[in-house]
Point group: C2
Chain length 355, copies 2
C-alpha cells in the first residue's frame, strides 16, 4: 500500500502521516445523486444484501471525492439476522417482534455470521479486489447497547424508553441480551476482517442516553469484549460514541485504537480528557455543510487546528452526513483538509527546529 | 415563611437547610390521574390560559406529595403569543408559520407580556393566595435558543435541522431572533415575578444539540441577558440545561443561582466542574421511576450522596417526569429524600465536631 493509501491506517495507529486523512460517516448515501438513482432500482435491504450492489454503493463516493477510506455500505441492524430477528426499513428500522421478555431473549440462538449474512463477506472480498490497495476498507458493527435499544424498543423514532425501563427494572435480562450481542458482533467483525476489512468501526449511536454509571455497566464492558475479541486479528478498531461528552474518558478505556466523537465537545478538550494513547476521529457538525463553502472551510480548519500536532487524527463529521447536503460542501471540506495540511507543512519547512 | 416552606429558596441561595428540598419537573402532568381527569374536561391551551384551571393543575401534585416547591402549570411556548406567533398542541407543539426568513423575524413586534398573556400573572396571583406561604412558587420561561429551535423548525419531533442550518447559513438572522426572544422572556419573567413568583427557571431543553463554541455564541449570551435583566427583582434564578455535559462550565457562567442538569453526568463531577458558586438541581434519570420502590430509593440516595455536604442542592429528576410513571415511585423518591437527610442529621448529631 502506498503512503497515500496508508494514510488512514497510519493515523489510526498514531503514526506520522503526510496529511490528516478524511472519510465521512454515511459517505455512501442519499446526498449523492448516483446513490439515489441506485435506490430507485432497489430497496434498501436488497441493496445491503446484494454484494455487487453494496460494493457499488460503497465505491460511489470514492469516484467523486479523494477520500482516504472506504466504508462498507450496510446497516448496523443487518447482522441481527444471525439472531433470527426480522426487520424492515420504512425508511427507519422497525423490528418485527421487539424483545421485551427474558423468555424471548433466552430463546435467541445466534447462528454464525458467515451463515446468516454471507453476502457481507462477499461484498468485502469484492471491494478489496476493486480497491486494489488504493484505499483501505472499513468494516463495522453496532455496539451492543445501541443494538439492544433497537431490539427492545422495536424502532428508533420515539426514543428508547422501553429499553431504558428494562435497564432499571430487569437489568439482568438486559445484560443477558448485551452478552449475546457482544459475542455475535465479535463474530460479525471477525467475518469482515477475515474477508479483508482493514479496519473496523463500532457505532455506539445511542450510548449518550445513558448516565455515566449506567454506561460503565451496560455499554462499556460489551464494547470492550468486542475490542478484545478482534484484537488478535491485528486491524485498527474505531469506537464511535455519539452524544457522549460525559462518556469520553470511560469510552477511551474500551481499548479501541481510535475514539470517534460527535461535534459537541471541542476536539482539544476531548484530547485533554482522554490522554495521548488513543487516536481521535471527528468532529465537524454535519449542519456546517449547509453553510457556504468559505464557512465550511473555516469551520473545518478550526477542527483541524484544535488537534494539529497531536499524533492520530482522522478528520470526519461528528455524525452521519445529512441527506440534503450539497456536493459542493463536501468538496469544500475535503479541499480544506488538503489546504490546512499544506499550509502546516509549509510552515514546518520554514521552521527548521520543528521536528 | 416557615423553615420548611423556606427550604427550597434557601437551597437556591446555598444557605443551610434542615434537609434537601425536592420538586419534580412536570410534577403537574399526565402521570397524575387527577390531571388526566382535568384534561378530559379541557384542552391543553385552555387549561394554560384559564387562571383557575392552571392554578388547579399546579396545586394537584402538592395535595398528593410533600413537595418543597410548586411550579406554575404552563408551557414555554405560551408567551410567544406576545410575538404574534400562533401555535397548536397536537399533543406536541406546532408553530403555524415557522420563522424561516429575516423578513419574518424583522416583522416580529413583541407586545408586553402583561397584555399578551395576562392570564399567567393572574394564575400566579391566585396561586400565591392559595399557597399562603406554605410552599414557594416557581415561574418559568424557555431559553432563547430553545424557543428559536421551535420557532424556526415549526415542531420538535424531527429534530431541529432547519434551526441549526440557519445557525451556520444565516447566523445574523438567528442572532436577531435570539435578541428579540431574550427581551421578550425578560419581560415575561418580570411579569411572573411581579405577580408573585418566588423563583424562576429558564428551560434550555435543546442547548445540548449545540457544540460548545456554538453554545457560547448562540445560547449563553441570551440566557445571561435574561438573568441580568431579572436580577434586580431579587428572586433566585434556576438555569436548566438539558443534555449538556459539555456545556456545564459555560452554563454556570450565565450567572443563575442554580444550575439544573440532566441525568447524564454524575452530580459530583458536575460540582467539580462548575465550582462552589452555584447551587445544583437534579439529577435522577426519570426512567429510574419505572423500577421497584427499593431500587428507586437506592438510586435517589446515590444522587444525594454525590453532593451531600455541598451547600445548595435541590433534588429533582434530570428531565420531566414521564407520563406512565407510577405514583408509588414518586412516593418512594420523596421518602428516600426524607430518609437520607434523616440519617445524615442523625449522624451529624453523633459527631459534635461537625459544623
Amino acid at each position: 500500500m502506498s503512503e497515500m493509501a496508508d494514510r488512514f491506517l497510519r493515523a489510526c495507529r498514531r503514526e506520522p502521516v503526510d496529511r490528516t486523512p478524511i472519510w465521512i460517516m454515511r459517505q455512501a448515501g442519499r446526498y449523492l445523486p448516483e446513490y439515489r438513482a441506485l435506490r430507485q432500482r432497489v430497496d434498501f435491504l436488497t441493496l445491503c444484501r446484494t454484494p455487487e450492489l453494496a460494493a457499488e454503493a460503497t465505491l460511489q463516493p470514492l469516484r467523486r471525492f479523494p477520500l482516504d477510506a472506504a466504508i462498507l455500505f450496510s446497516d448496523i441492524l443487518l447482522p441481527l439476522q444471525a439472531l433470527g430477528v426480522e426487520m424492515a426499513f420504512t425508511p427507519g428500522p422497525t423490528i418485527a417482534e421487539p424483545l421485551r421478555t427474558r423468555a424471548q431473549i433466552d430463546a435467541l440462538a445466534p447462528r454464525p455470521a458467515g451463515e446468516a449474512v454471507p453476502f457481507v463477506a462477499e461484498a468485502v472480498r469484492l471491494l478489496r479486489r476493486e480497491l486494489d490497495g488504493r484505499t483501505p476498507l472499513i468494516g463495522f458493527c453496532g455496539a451492543p447497547f445501541t443494538l439492544a435499544c433497537y431490539l427492545v424498543q422495536g424502532r428508533g423514532k420515539e426514543g428508547f424508553g422501553v429499553a431504558k425501563t428494562m435497564l432499571y427494572r430487569e437489568p439482568a435480562t438486559l445484560e443477558h441480551l448485551l452478552s449475546t450481542l457482544a459475542l455475535a458482533m465479535t463474530d460479525y467483525l471477525t467475518l469482515q476482517i477475515r474477508a479483508g476489512a482493514q479496519a473496523v468501526q463500532i457505532f455506539d449511536s445511542w450510548a449518550g442516553i445513558l448516565g455515566l454509571e449506567e454506561y460503565r455497566r451496560f455499554a462499556l464492558p460489551y464494547v470492550k469484549a468486542i475490542v478484545d475479541g478482534v484484537r488478535p486479528l491485528g486491524v485498527p478498531v474505531i469506537y464511535f460514541v455519539n452524544d457522549g461528552p460525559h462518556l469520553h474518558e470511560a469510552a477511551a478505556s474500551a481499548g479501541a485504537d481510535v475514539l470517534g466523537v460527535c461535534w459537541r465537545a471541542p476536539l482539544d478538550d476531548v484530547a485533554r480528557r482522554v490522554g495521548p494513547r488513543v487516536a481521535l476521529q471527528g468532529n465537524l457538525d454535519p449542519h456546517v455543510l449547509f453553510a457556504d463553502p468559505v464557512e465550511v472551510a473555516q469551520q473545518a480548519a478550526a477542527v483541524l487546528a484544535r488537534v494539529a500536532g497531536r499524533p492520530g487524527h482522522i478528520m470526519n463529521l461528528g455524525h452521519g452526513i445529512l441527506p440534503e447536503t450539497p456536493i459542493a460542501s463536501v468538496e469544500a471540506l475535503i479541499a480544506a483538509v488538503h489546504d490546512f495540511d499544506g499550509r502546516r507543512a509549509a510552515a514546518a519547512a520554514l521552521t527548521p527546529c520543528t521536528t
